[in-house]
Structures are given as structure tokens and as C-alpha cells.
Amino acid sequence: MSDADLDTALKGAHADPEDLASAARQTSVYVYEAPVRIWHWINAAAILVLCVTGYLIGAPPPSMQIAEATHQFVFGFIRFAHFAAGWILAIGFLGRIYWAIFGNHHARQLFILPLWKRDFWREIWFEVKWYLFLEKEPKKYVGHNPLAQLAMFGFITLGVSFMIVTGLALYSEGLGVDSTLYALFGWVFTLLGPNPHVVHTLHHLGMWWIVIFMIVHIYVAIREDIMSRQSIVSTMISGHRTFKDDRPD
């Protein structure tokens, strides 16, 4: 929106000069394309279902007597929800990898860490200081800040990959050792087991890894939305990053 358009748009509106100046500053960058945003929210829903049902698979709800065992499928439905959400997570993750290749460069942040760049490490250190209240003012970032990127990589890229691989391996046991899925994922048991119980335990610990991510992620997203110099939460809805000031960096 040019200044001339802005003047036209605001003509007649009861706006003081300060508001006008603020409106002039509201520039935005399109960061998260639609597939990334859709993936984010589907993923969030799937993870929520997976954590709740996964916990219940490890610690089933109290026994209940609704009907004959044959007609009562309570635990079966819990497991069904887990498997269905698991498949959505796995296929969604594949779609996300596809979009990392064909989407804009922000879509690649989740998968490629510029570990070889000195700037990356310096800015991680800056972010750490910001979170330790040692920096007065945060920097502006169009995409993820380096610390967020590192956390995303560890928790989501590695964490969710681990959960998908171990999850599909455990699921393939149900399909049988002669199934295609077991042929694809049976190596997990050789690598981590071979006792399948070990894989169950690691998959269970992985859930807590994801839960910890959820706590930190939601807190930091809201906090940054309030305290940083850019939009955070709304960006994952609209895709646009807006900035609260015009000062550089």
C-alpha cells in the first residue's frame, strides 16, 4: 500500500497523526505459505491426539463393562485413534518435506541448519541472552530466529522423525513380520532392540520429548508475540509477518 493509497483509505477516519504513522509502517512479508500453515495445524492436532491416546495405550483407562467384550471396542478405538493420527502425522511429514523442496526458502528452515555459518552461532548466543533478560531489545527476524530454528530441528525434525520411524516399526508388528511395512521398518528392532519392549519404551520417552516441546513452543510463541518486534501467532494463521517498528535489525 503506497502512502497515497493510505491517505485515501484513512481520509475521513478519526485518526490522530500517531495512528497514521503506525499504519504507514505496517509492512508485511509473506513467510509461511498455505501448505506450511495447513501442515502446522494438522500436525498440532495429530500430535495432541497422539500424546493423549499414546499415554492411554501405556496406561489404559480403568476397565469398564459396557457390553460383551466382542461388542465393546474401547481400547480398540483408542489404539485406532492413535494409529490414524500417526498415519496423518507421517504422511503430513512427507508432504512437509516435499514442500521444503518446492516451497519458498522459509519452508527449508526446518530441515537445514546453517551450522557452518559463524553468524548463526553468534545469533543463537544473542537469543540465549535475550531469553536470560541480558538483552534489552530483541532482533527482528523474517523467518525463525536461529535459536528457534535449532529447537525446531531438534524437537520436530529429529523428534517427530524418530516417533514416526519407531511408531511405524511398532505398527508393522501388528501387521505381521511378513508385511511390507515390517520389511521397511523391521531394522528398527535390530538397531534399538532387538527386544521390542525397548522400542516401546523409547517411543514412550519420545512422547515426553514432544510434550516438552509443546510447552516451550506455545509459551515462547505467545511471549514473542507480546514482547518481540514482530508478529508470531498470527503469522502461522495468515502467513504474513508484520513488524512493530521501522528500526533496522
Binding site: 471396542f73 531469553y131 532387538p194 527386544n195 519392549h197 520429548w209 510447552i215 511471549r223
Partner: protein
Amino acid sequence: MSQIETFYDVMRRQGITRRSFMKYCALTAAALGLSPAFVPRIAHAMETKPRTPVIWVHGLECTCCSESFIRSAHPLAKDVVLSMISLDYDDTLMAAAGHAAEAAMRDTIERYKGNYILAVEGNPPLNEDGMFCISGGKPFVEKLRYAARDAKAIISWGACASYGCVQAAKPNPTRATPVHQVITDKPIIKVPGCPPIAEVMTGVITYMLTFDRLPTLDRQGRPAMFYSQRIHDKCYRRPHFDAGQFVEAWDDENARKGYCLYKMGCKGPTTYNACSTVRWNDGVSFPIQSGHGCIGCSEDGFWDQGSFYDRVTDLTQFGVEANADKVGLAAAGVVGAGVAAHAAISALKAAQKKTQSSKEEA
């Protein structure tokens, strides 16, 4: 080799009728999951092939494999297979003892070089040069290497030979080591379990005799025909699992009704074995049918997987007793408290900044 008796000869010599012999062949075919067309082939193999000599050695073990083996359900087969094996060498079961027994083993190895099957029950401890298990005056590991050198194939009977079992459980003071980590140049077939099911043991031997090859093995080297399905997949209490009906305590009403033992730590979902189909003691029962969960005895390191009675088992890595849930909940709690504290400080700082800037303005 021509003067070696066939299995059929031995059976007849033991007074077994041809009718009983054919029944044994039919039952074996059924146990191996083969079609009836294989019955004559099994019979033919038993009649014509010179019997395969088996040397059965015992390392660190409790002899429960032998105990199971001699209870193989088919009443005649057990005597036959057993006596045929004892003809060669099995220090626990054979009549000979001492020097005579050791001579019998040497003799068998010399005569059937490269043609005998070595069955190993138990495992060799390697610490202190193997001195924790002495057999015939020598460390067992030496006897194992000696017997394995000219063997055609090796059968690892039970969890001891296959994985190490209780003597290899942490901290494994004698360094008890499964057979496949000591003998690396021979085909090894693992028949784990503590003990393995009798029919599984005789079934494996019969298969190897009939087809003159090892059965198809799974990822871990266990015969796929007996170890390709979990106890859980064929458990008769499975409907209660899907319904969400569990035994909550050992003496509750649900236990009496025969509900699923999942919450009581049953390892059926992580254990590959044939117990829920073949069952034990002539098909009478198996642990879950008797009201106790599966302890997972045919899986690697089952002693080190925490309690037999917990669903989510303790993680010994954390020093104190803690399971994945306790560890996870503690970690999530710490992070949650951290987040709350951080949020409070953030709010405080923000308020501070606000008052400061308003003072500056004023």
C-alpha cells in the same frame, strides 16, 4: 555312512508300529504348518535318510530345555528322538559318564565330521578364561569350540544359548555370552524360550532332518514357523484387550473372569513365540491361560527389561526406579515450572521498562 541307521529303523527297533510312525509324521507336518502332501515326504525322509547325529552339550544353564524336550507331546516321538540323540552324546541324559562319555563325544565328532548337528543348551562364561563353567575338567567354552569346529549347523536351545538369559543379566559377573558371539563361522539357529516349547524343539529337529536344510529364520535367527507371531496376536484373551477390560489386581473379579493381563505387565505384545497356539504340556495350557502374564522369555535380554509386572517398566539408566512416565513427567514439570518462572520475570521486566519510559517522558 551307509551303515548308519535311519530314524525309521530306530523307531521300529524301539517297538513302534508303522501306524504310530505315520501318525507321528502327520502330526509333525501339522506342527510345521505343512500341507498333508508333506506327510509322505516326511515319512520317506525318516525311512531313507541316515539319521543326523546330534551332539548336545550343556554350558551355564538349568537344564529346563532338556526337561521341556523330554515332554514333547507326541508320546512316542519323544522317546524316539530322545534315545536317538542319547545314542551319540548328551552328558545329562546319556547312560555313560566320565571318560566313557567324553570318548563317545570324540568318537562321534571323528566319525561324522561335518555331518552332525551341535545342539547347545546354556552358554559359555568368558570371564576368568571360562573357569566359571567346567565340563569334563575343562572350561566349557573350549568344549564348545571343539564340538563346533566340525558341526554342520548349531542349534542354540533356549534363552541361555540364544541370548544369555539370567546369567547374562546385568551385571553379568561371569560374562556369560550367547553362542553366536563365540562361534561365528557356522549357521546358527536360535530356539529361544525359558525353556522353549517341547514341540517347537522336536519340530525344528524334524524339519532339519526332513528337508536337509535350516528352516526359514526371522530377523534374529529364530525359526519363522514358530517365532513369527506375537503371543498377543493369537492370545485367546485378546477380545478383552480390545474391549479395554483388564485385570487390575491379582485377586480382583476381573482376574477371575479371565480379562486381559496387559496392565499386570504381560509381555505378550512384545514377545514372539508359539505359546498361545501350541501351548504347553500336551496343549494343556500356557502362562496367560493360567492367569499369569507372559514374561517375554523368548526375547533378547528379557531379564533386563524391568519388572515382569509393570506395563511401562523401570529405566535402570536413571539409577533410581523410574519409568518413562515418571521421567517424562518430571522433565515436563521442570520445563513447565521454568516456563512459568520465565513468564513471571518477563512480565516484571516489561512492567519495569514501562515505568522507566513513562518516567523518562515525564
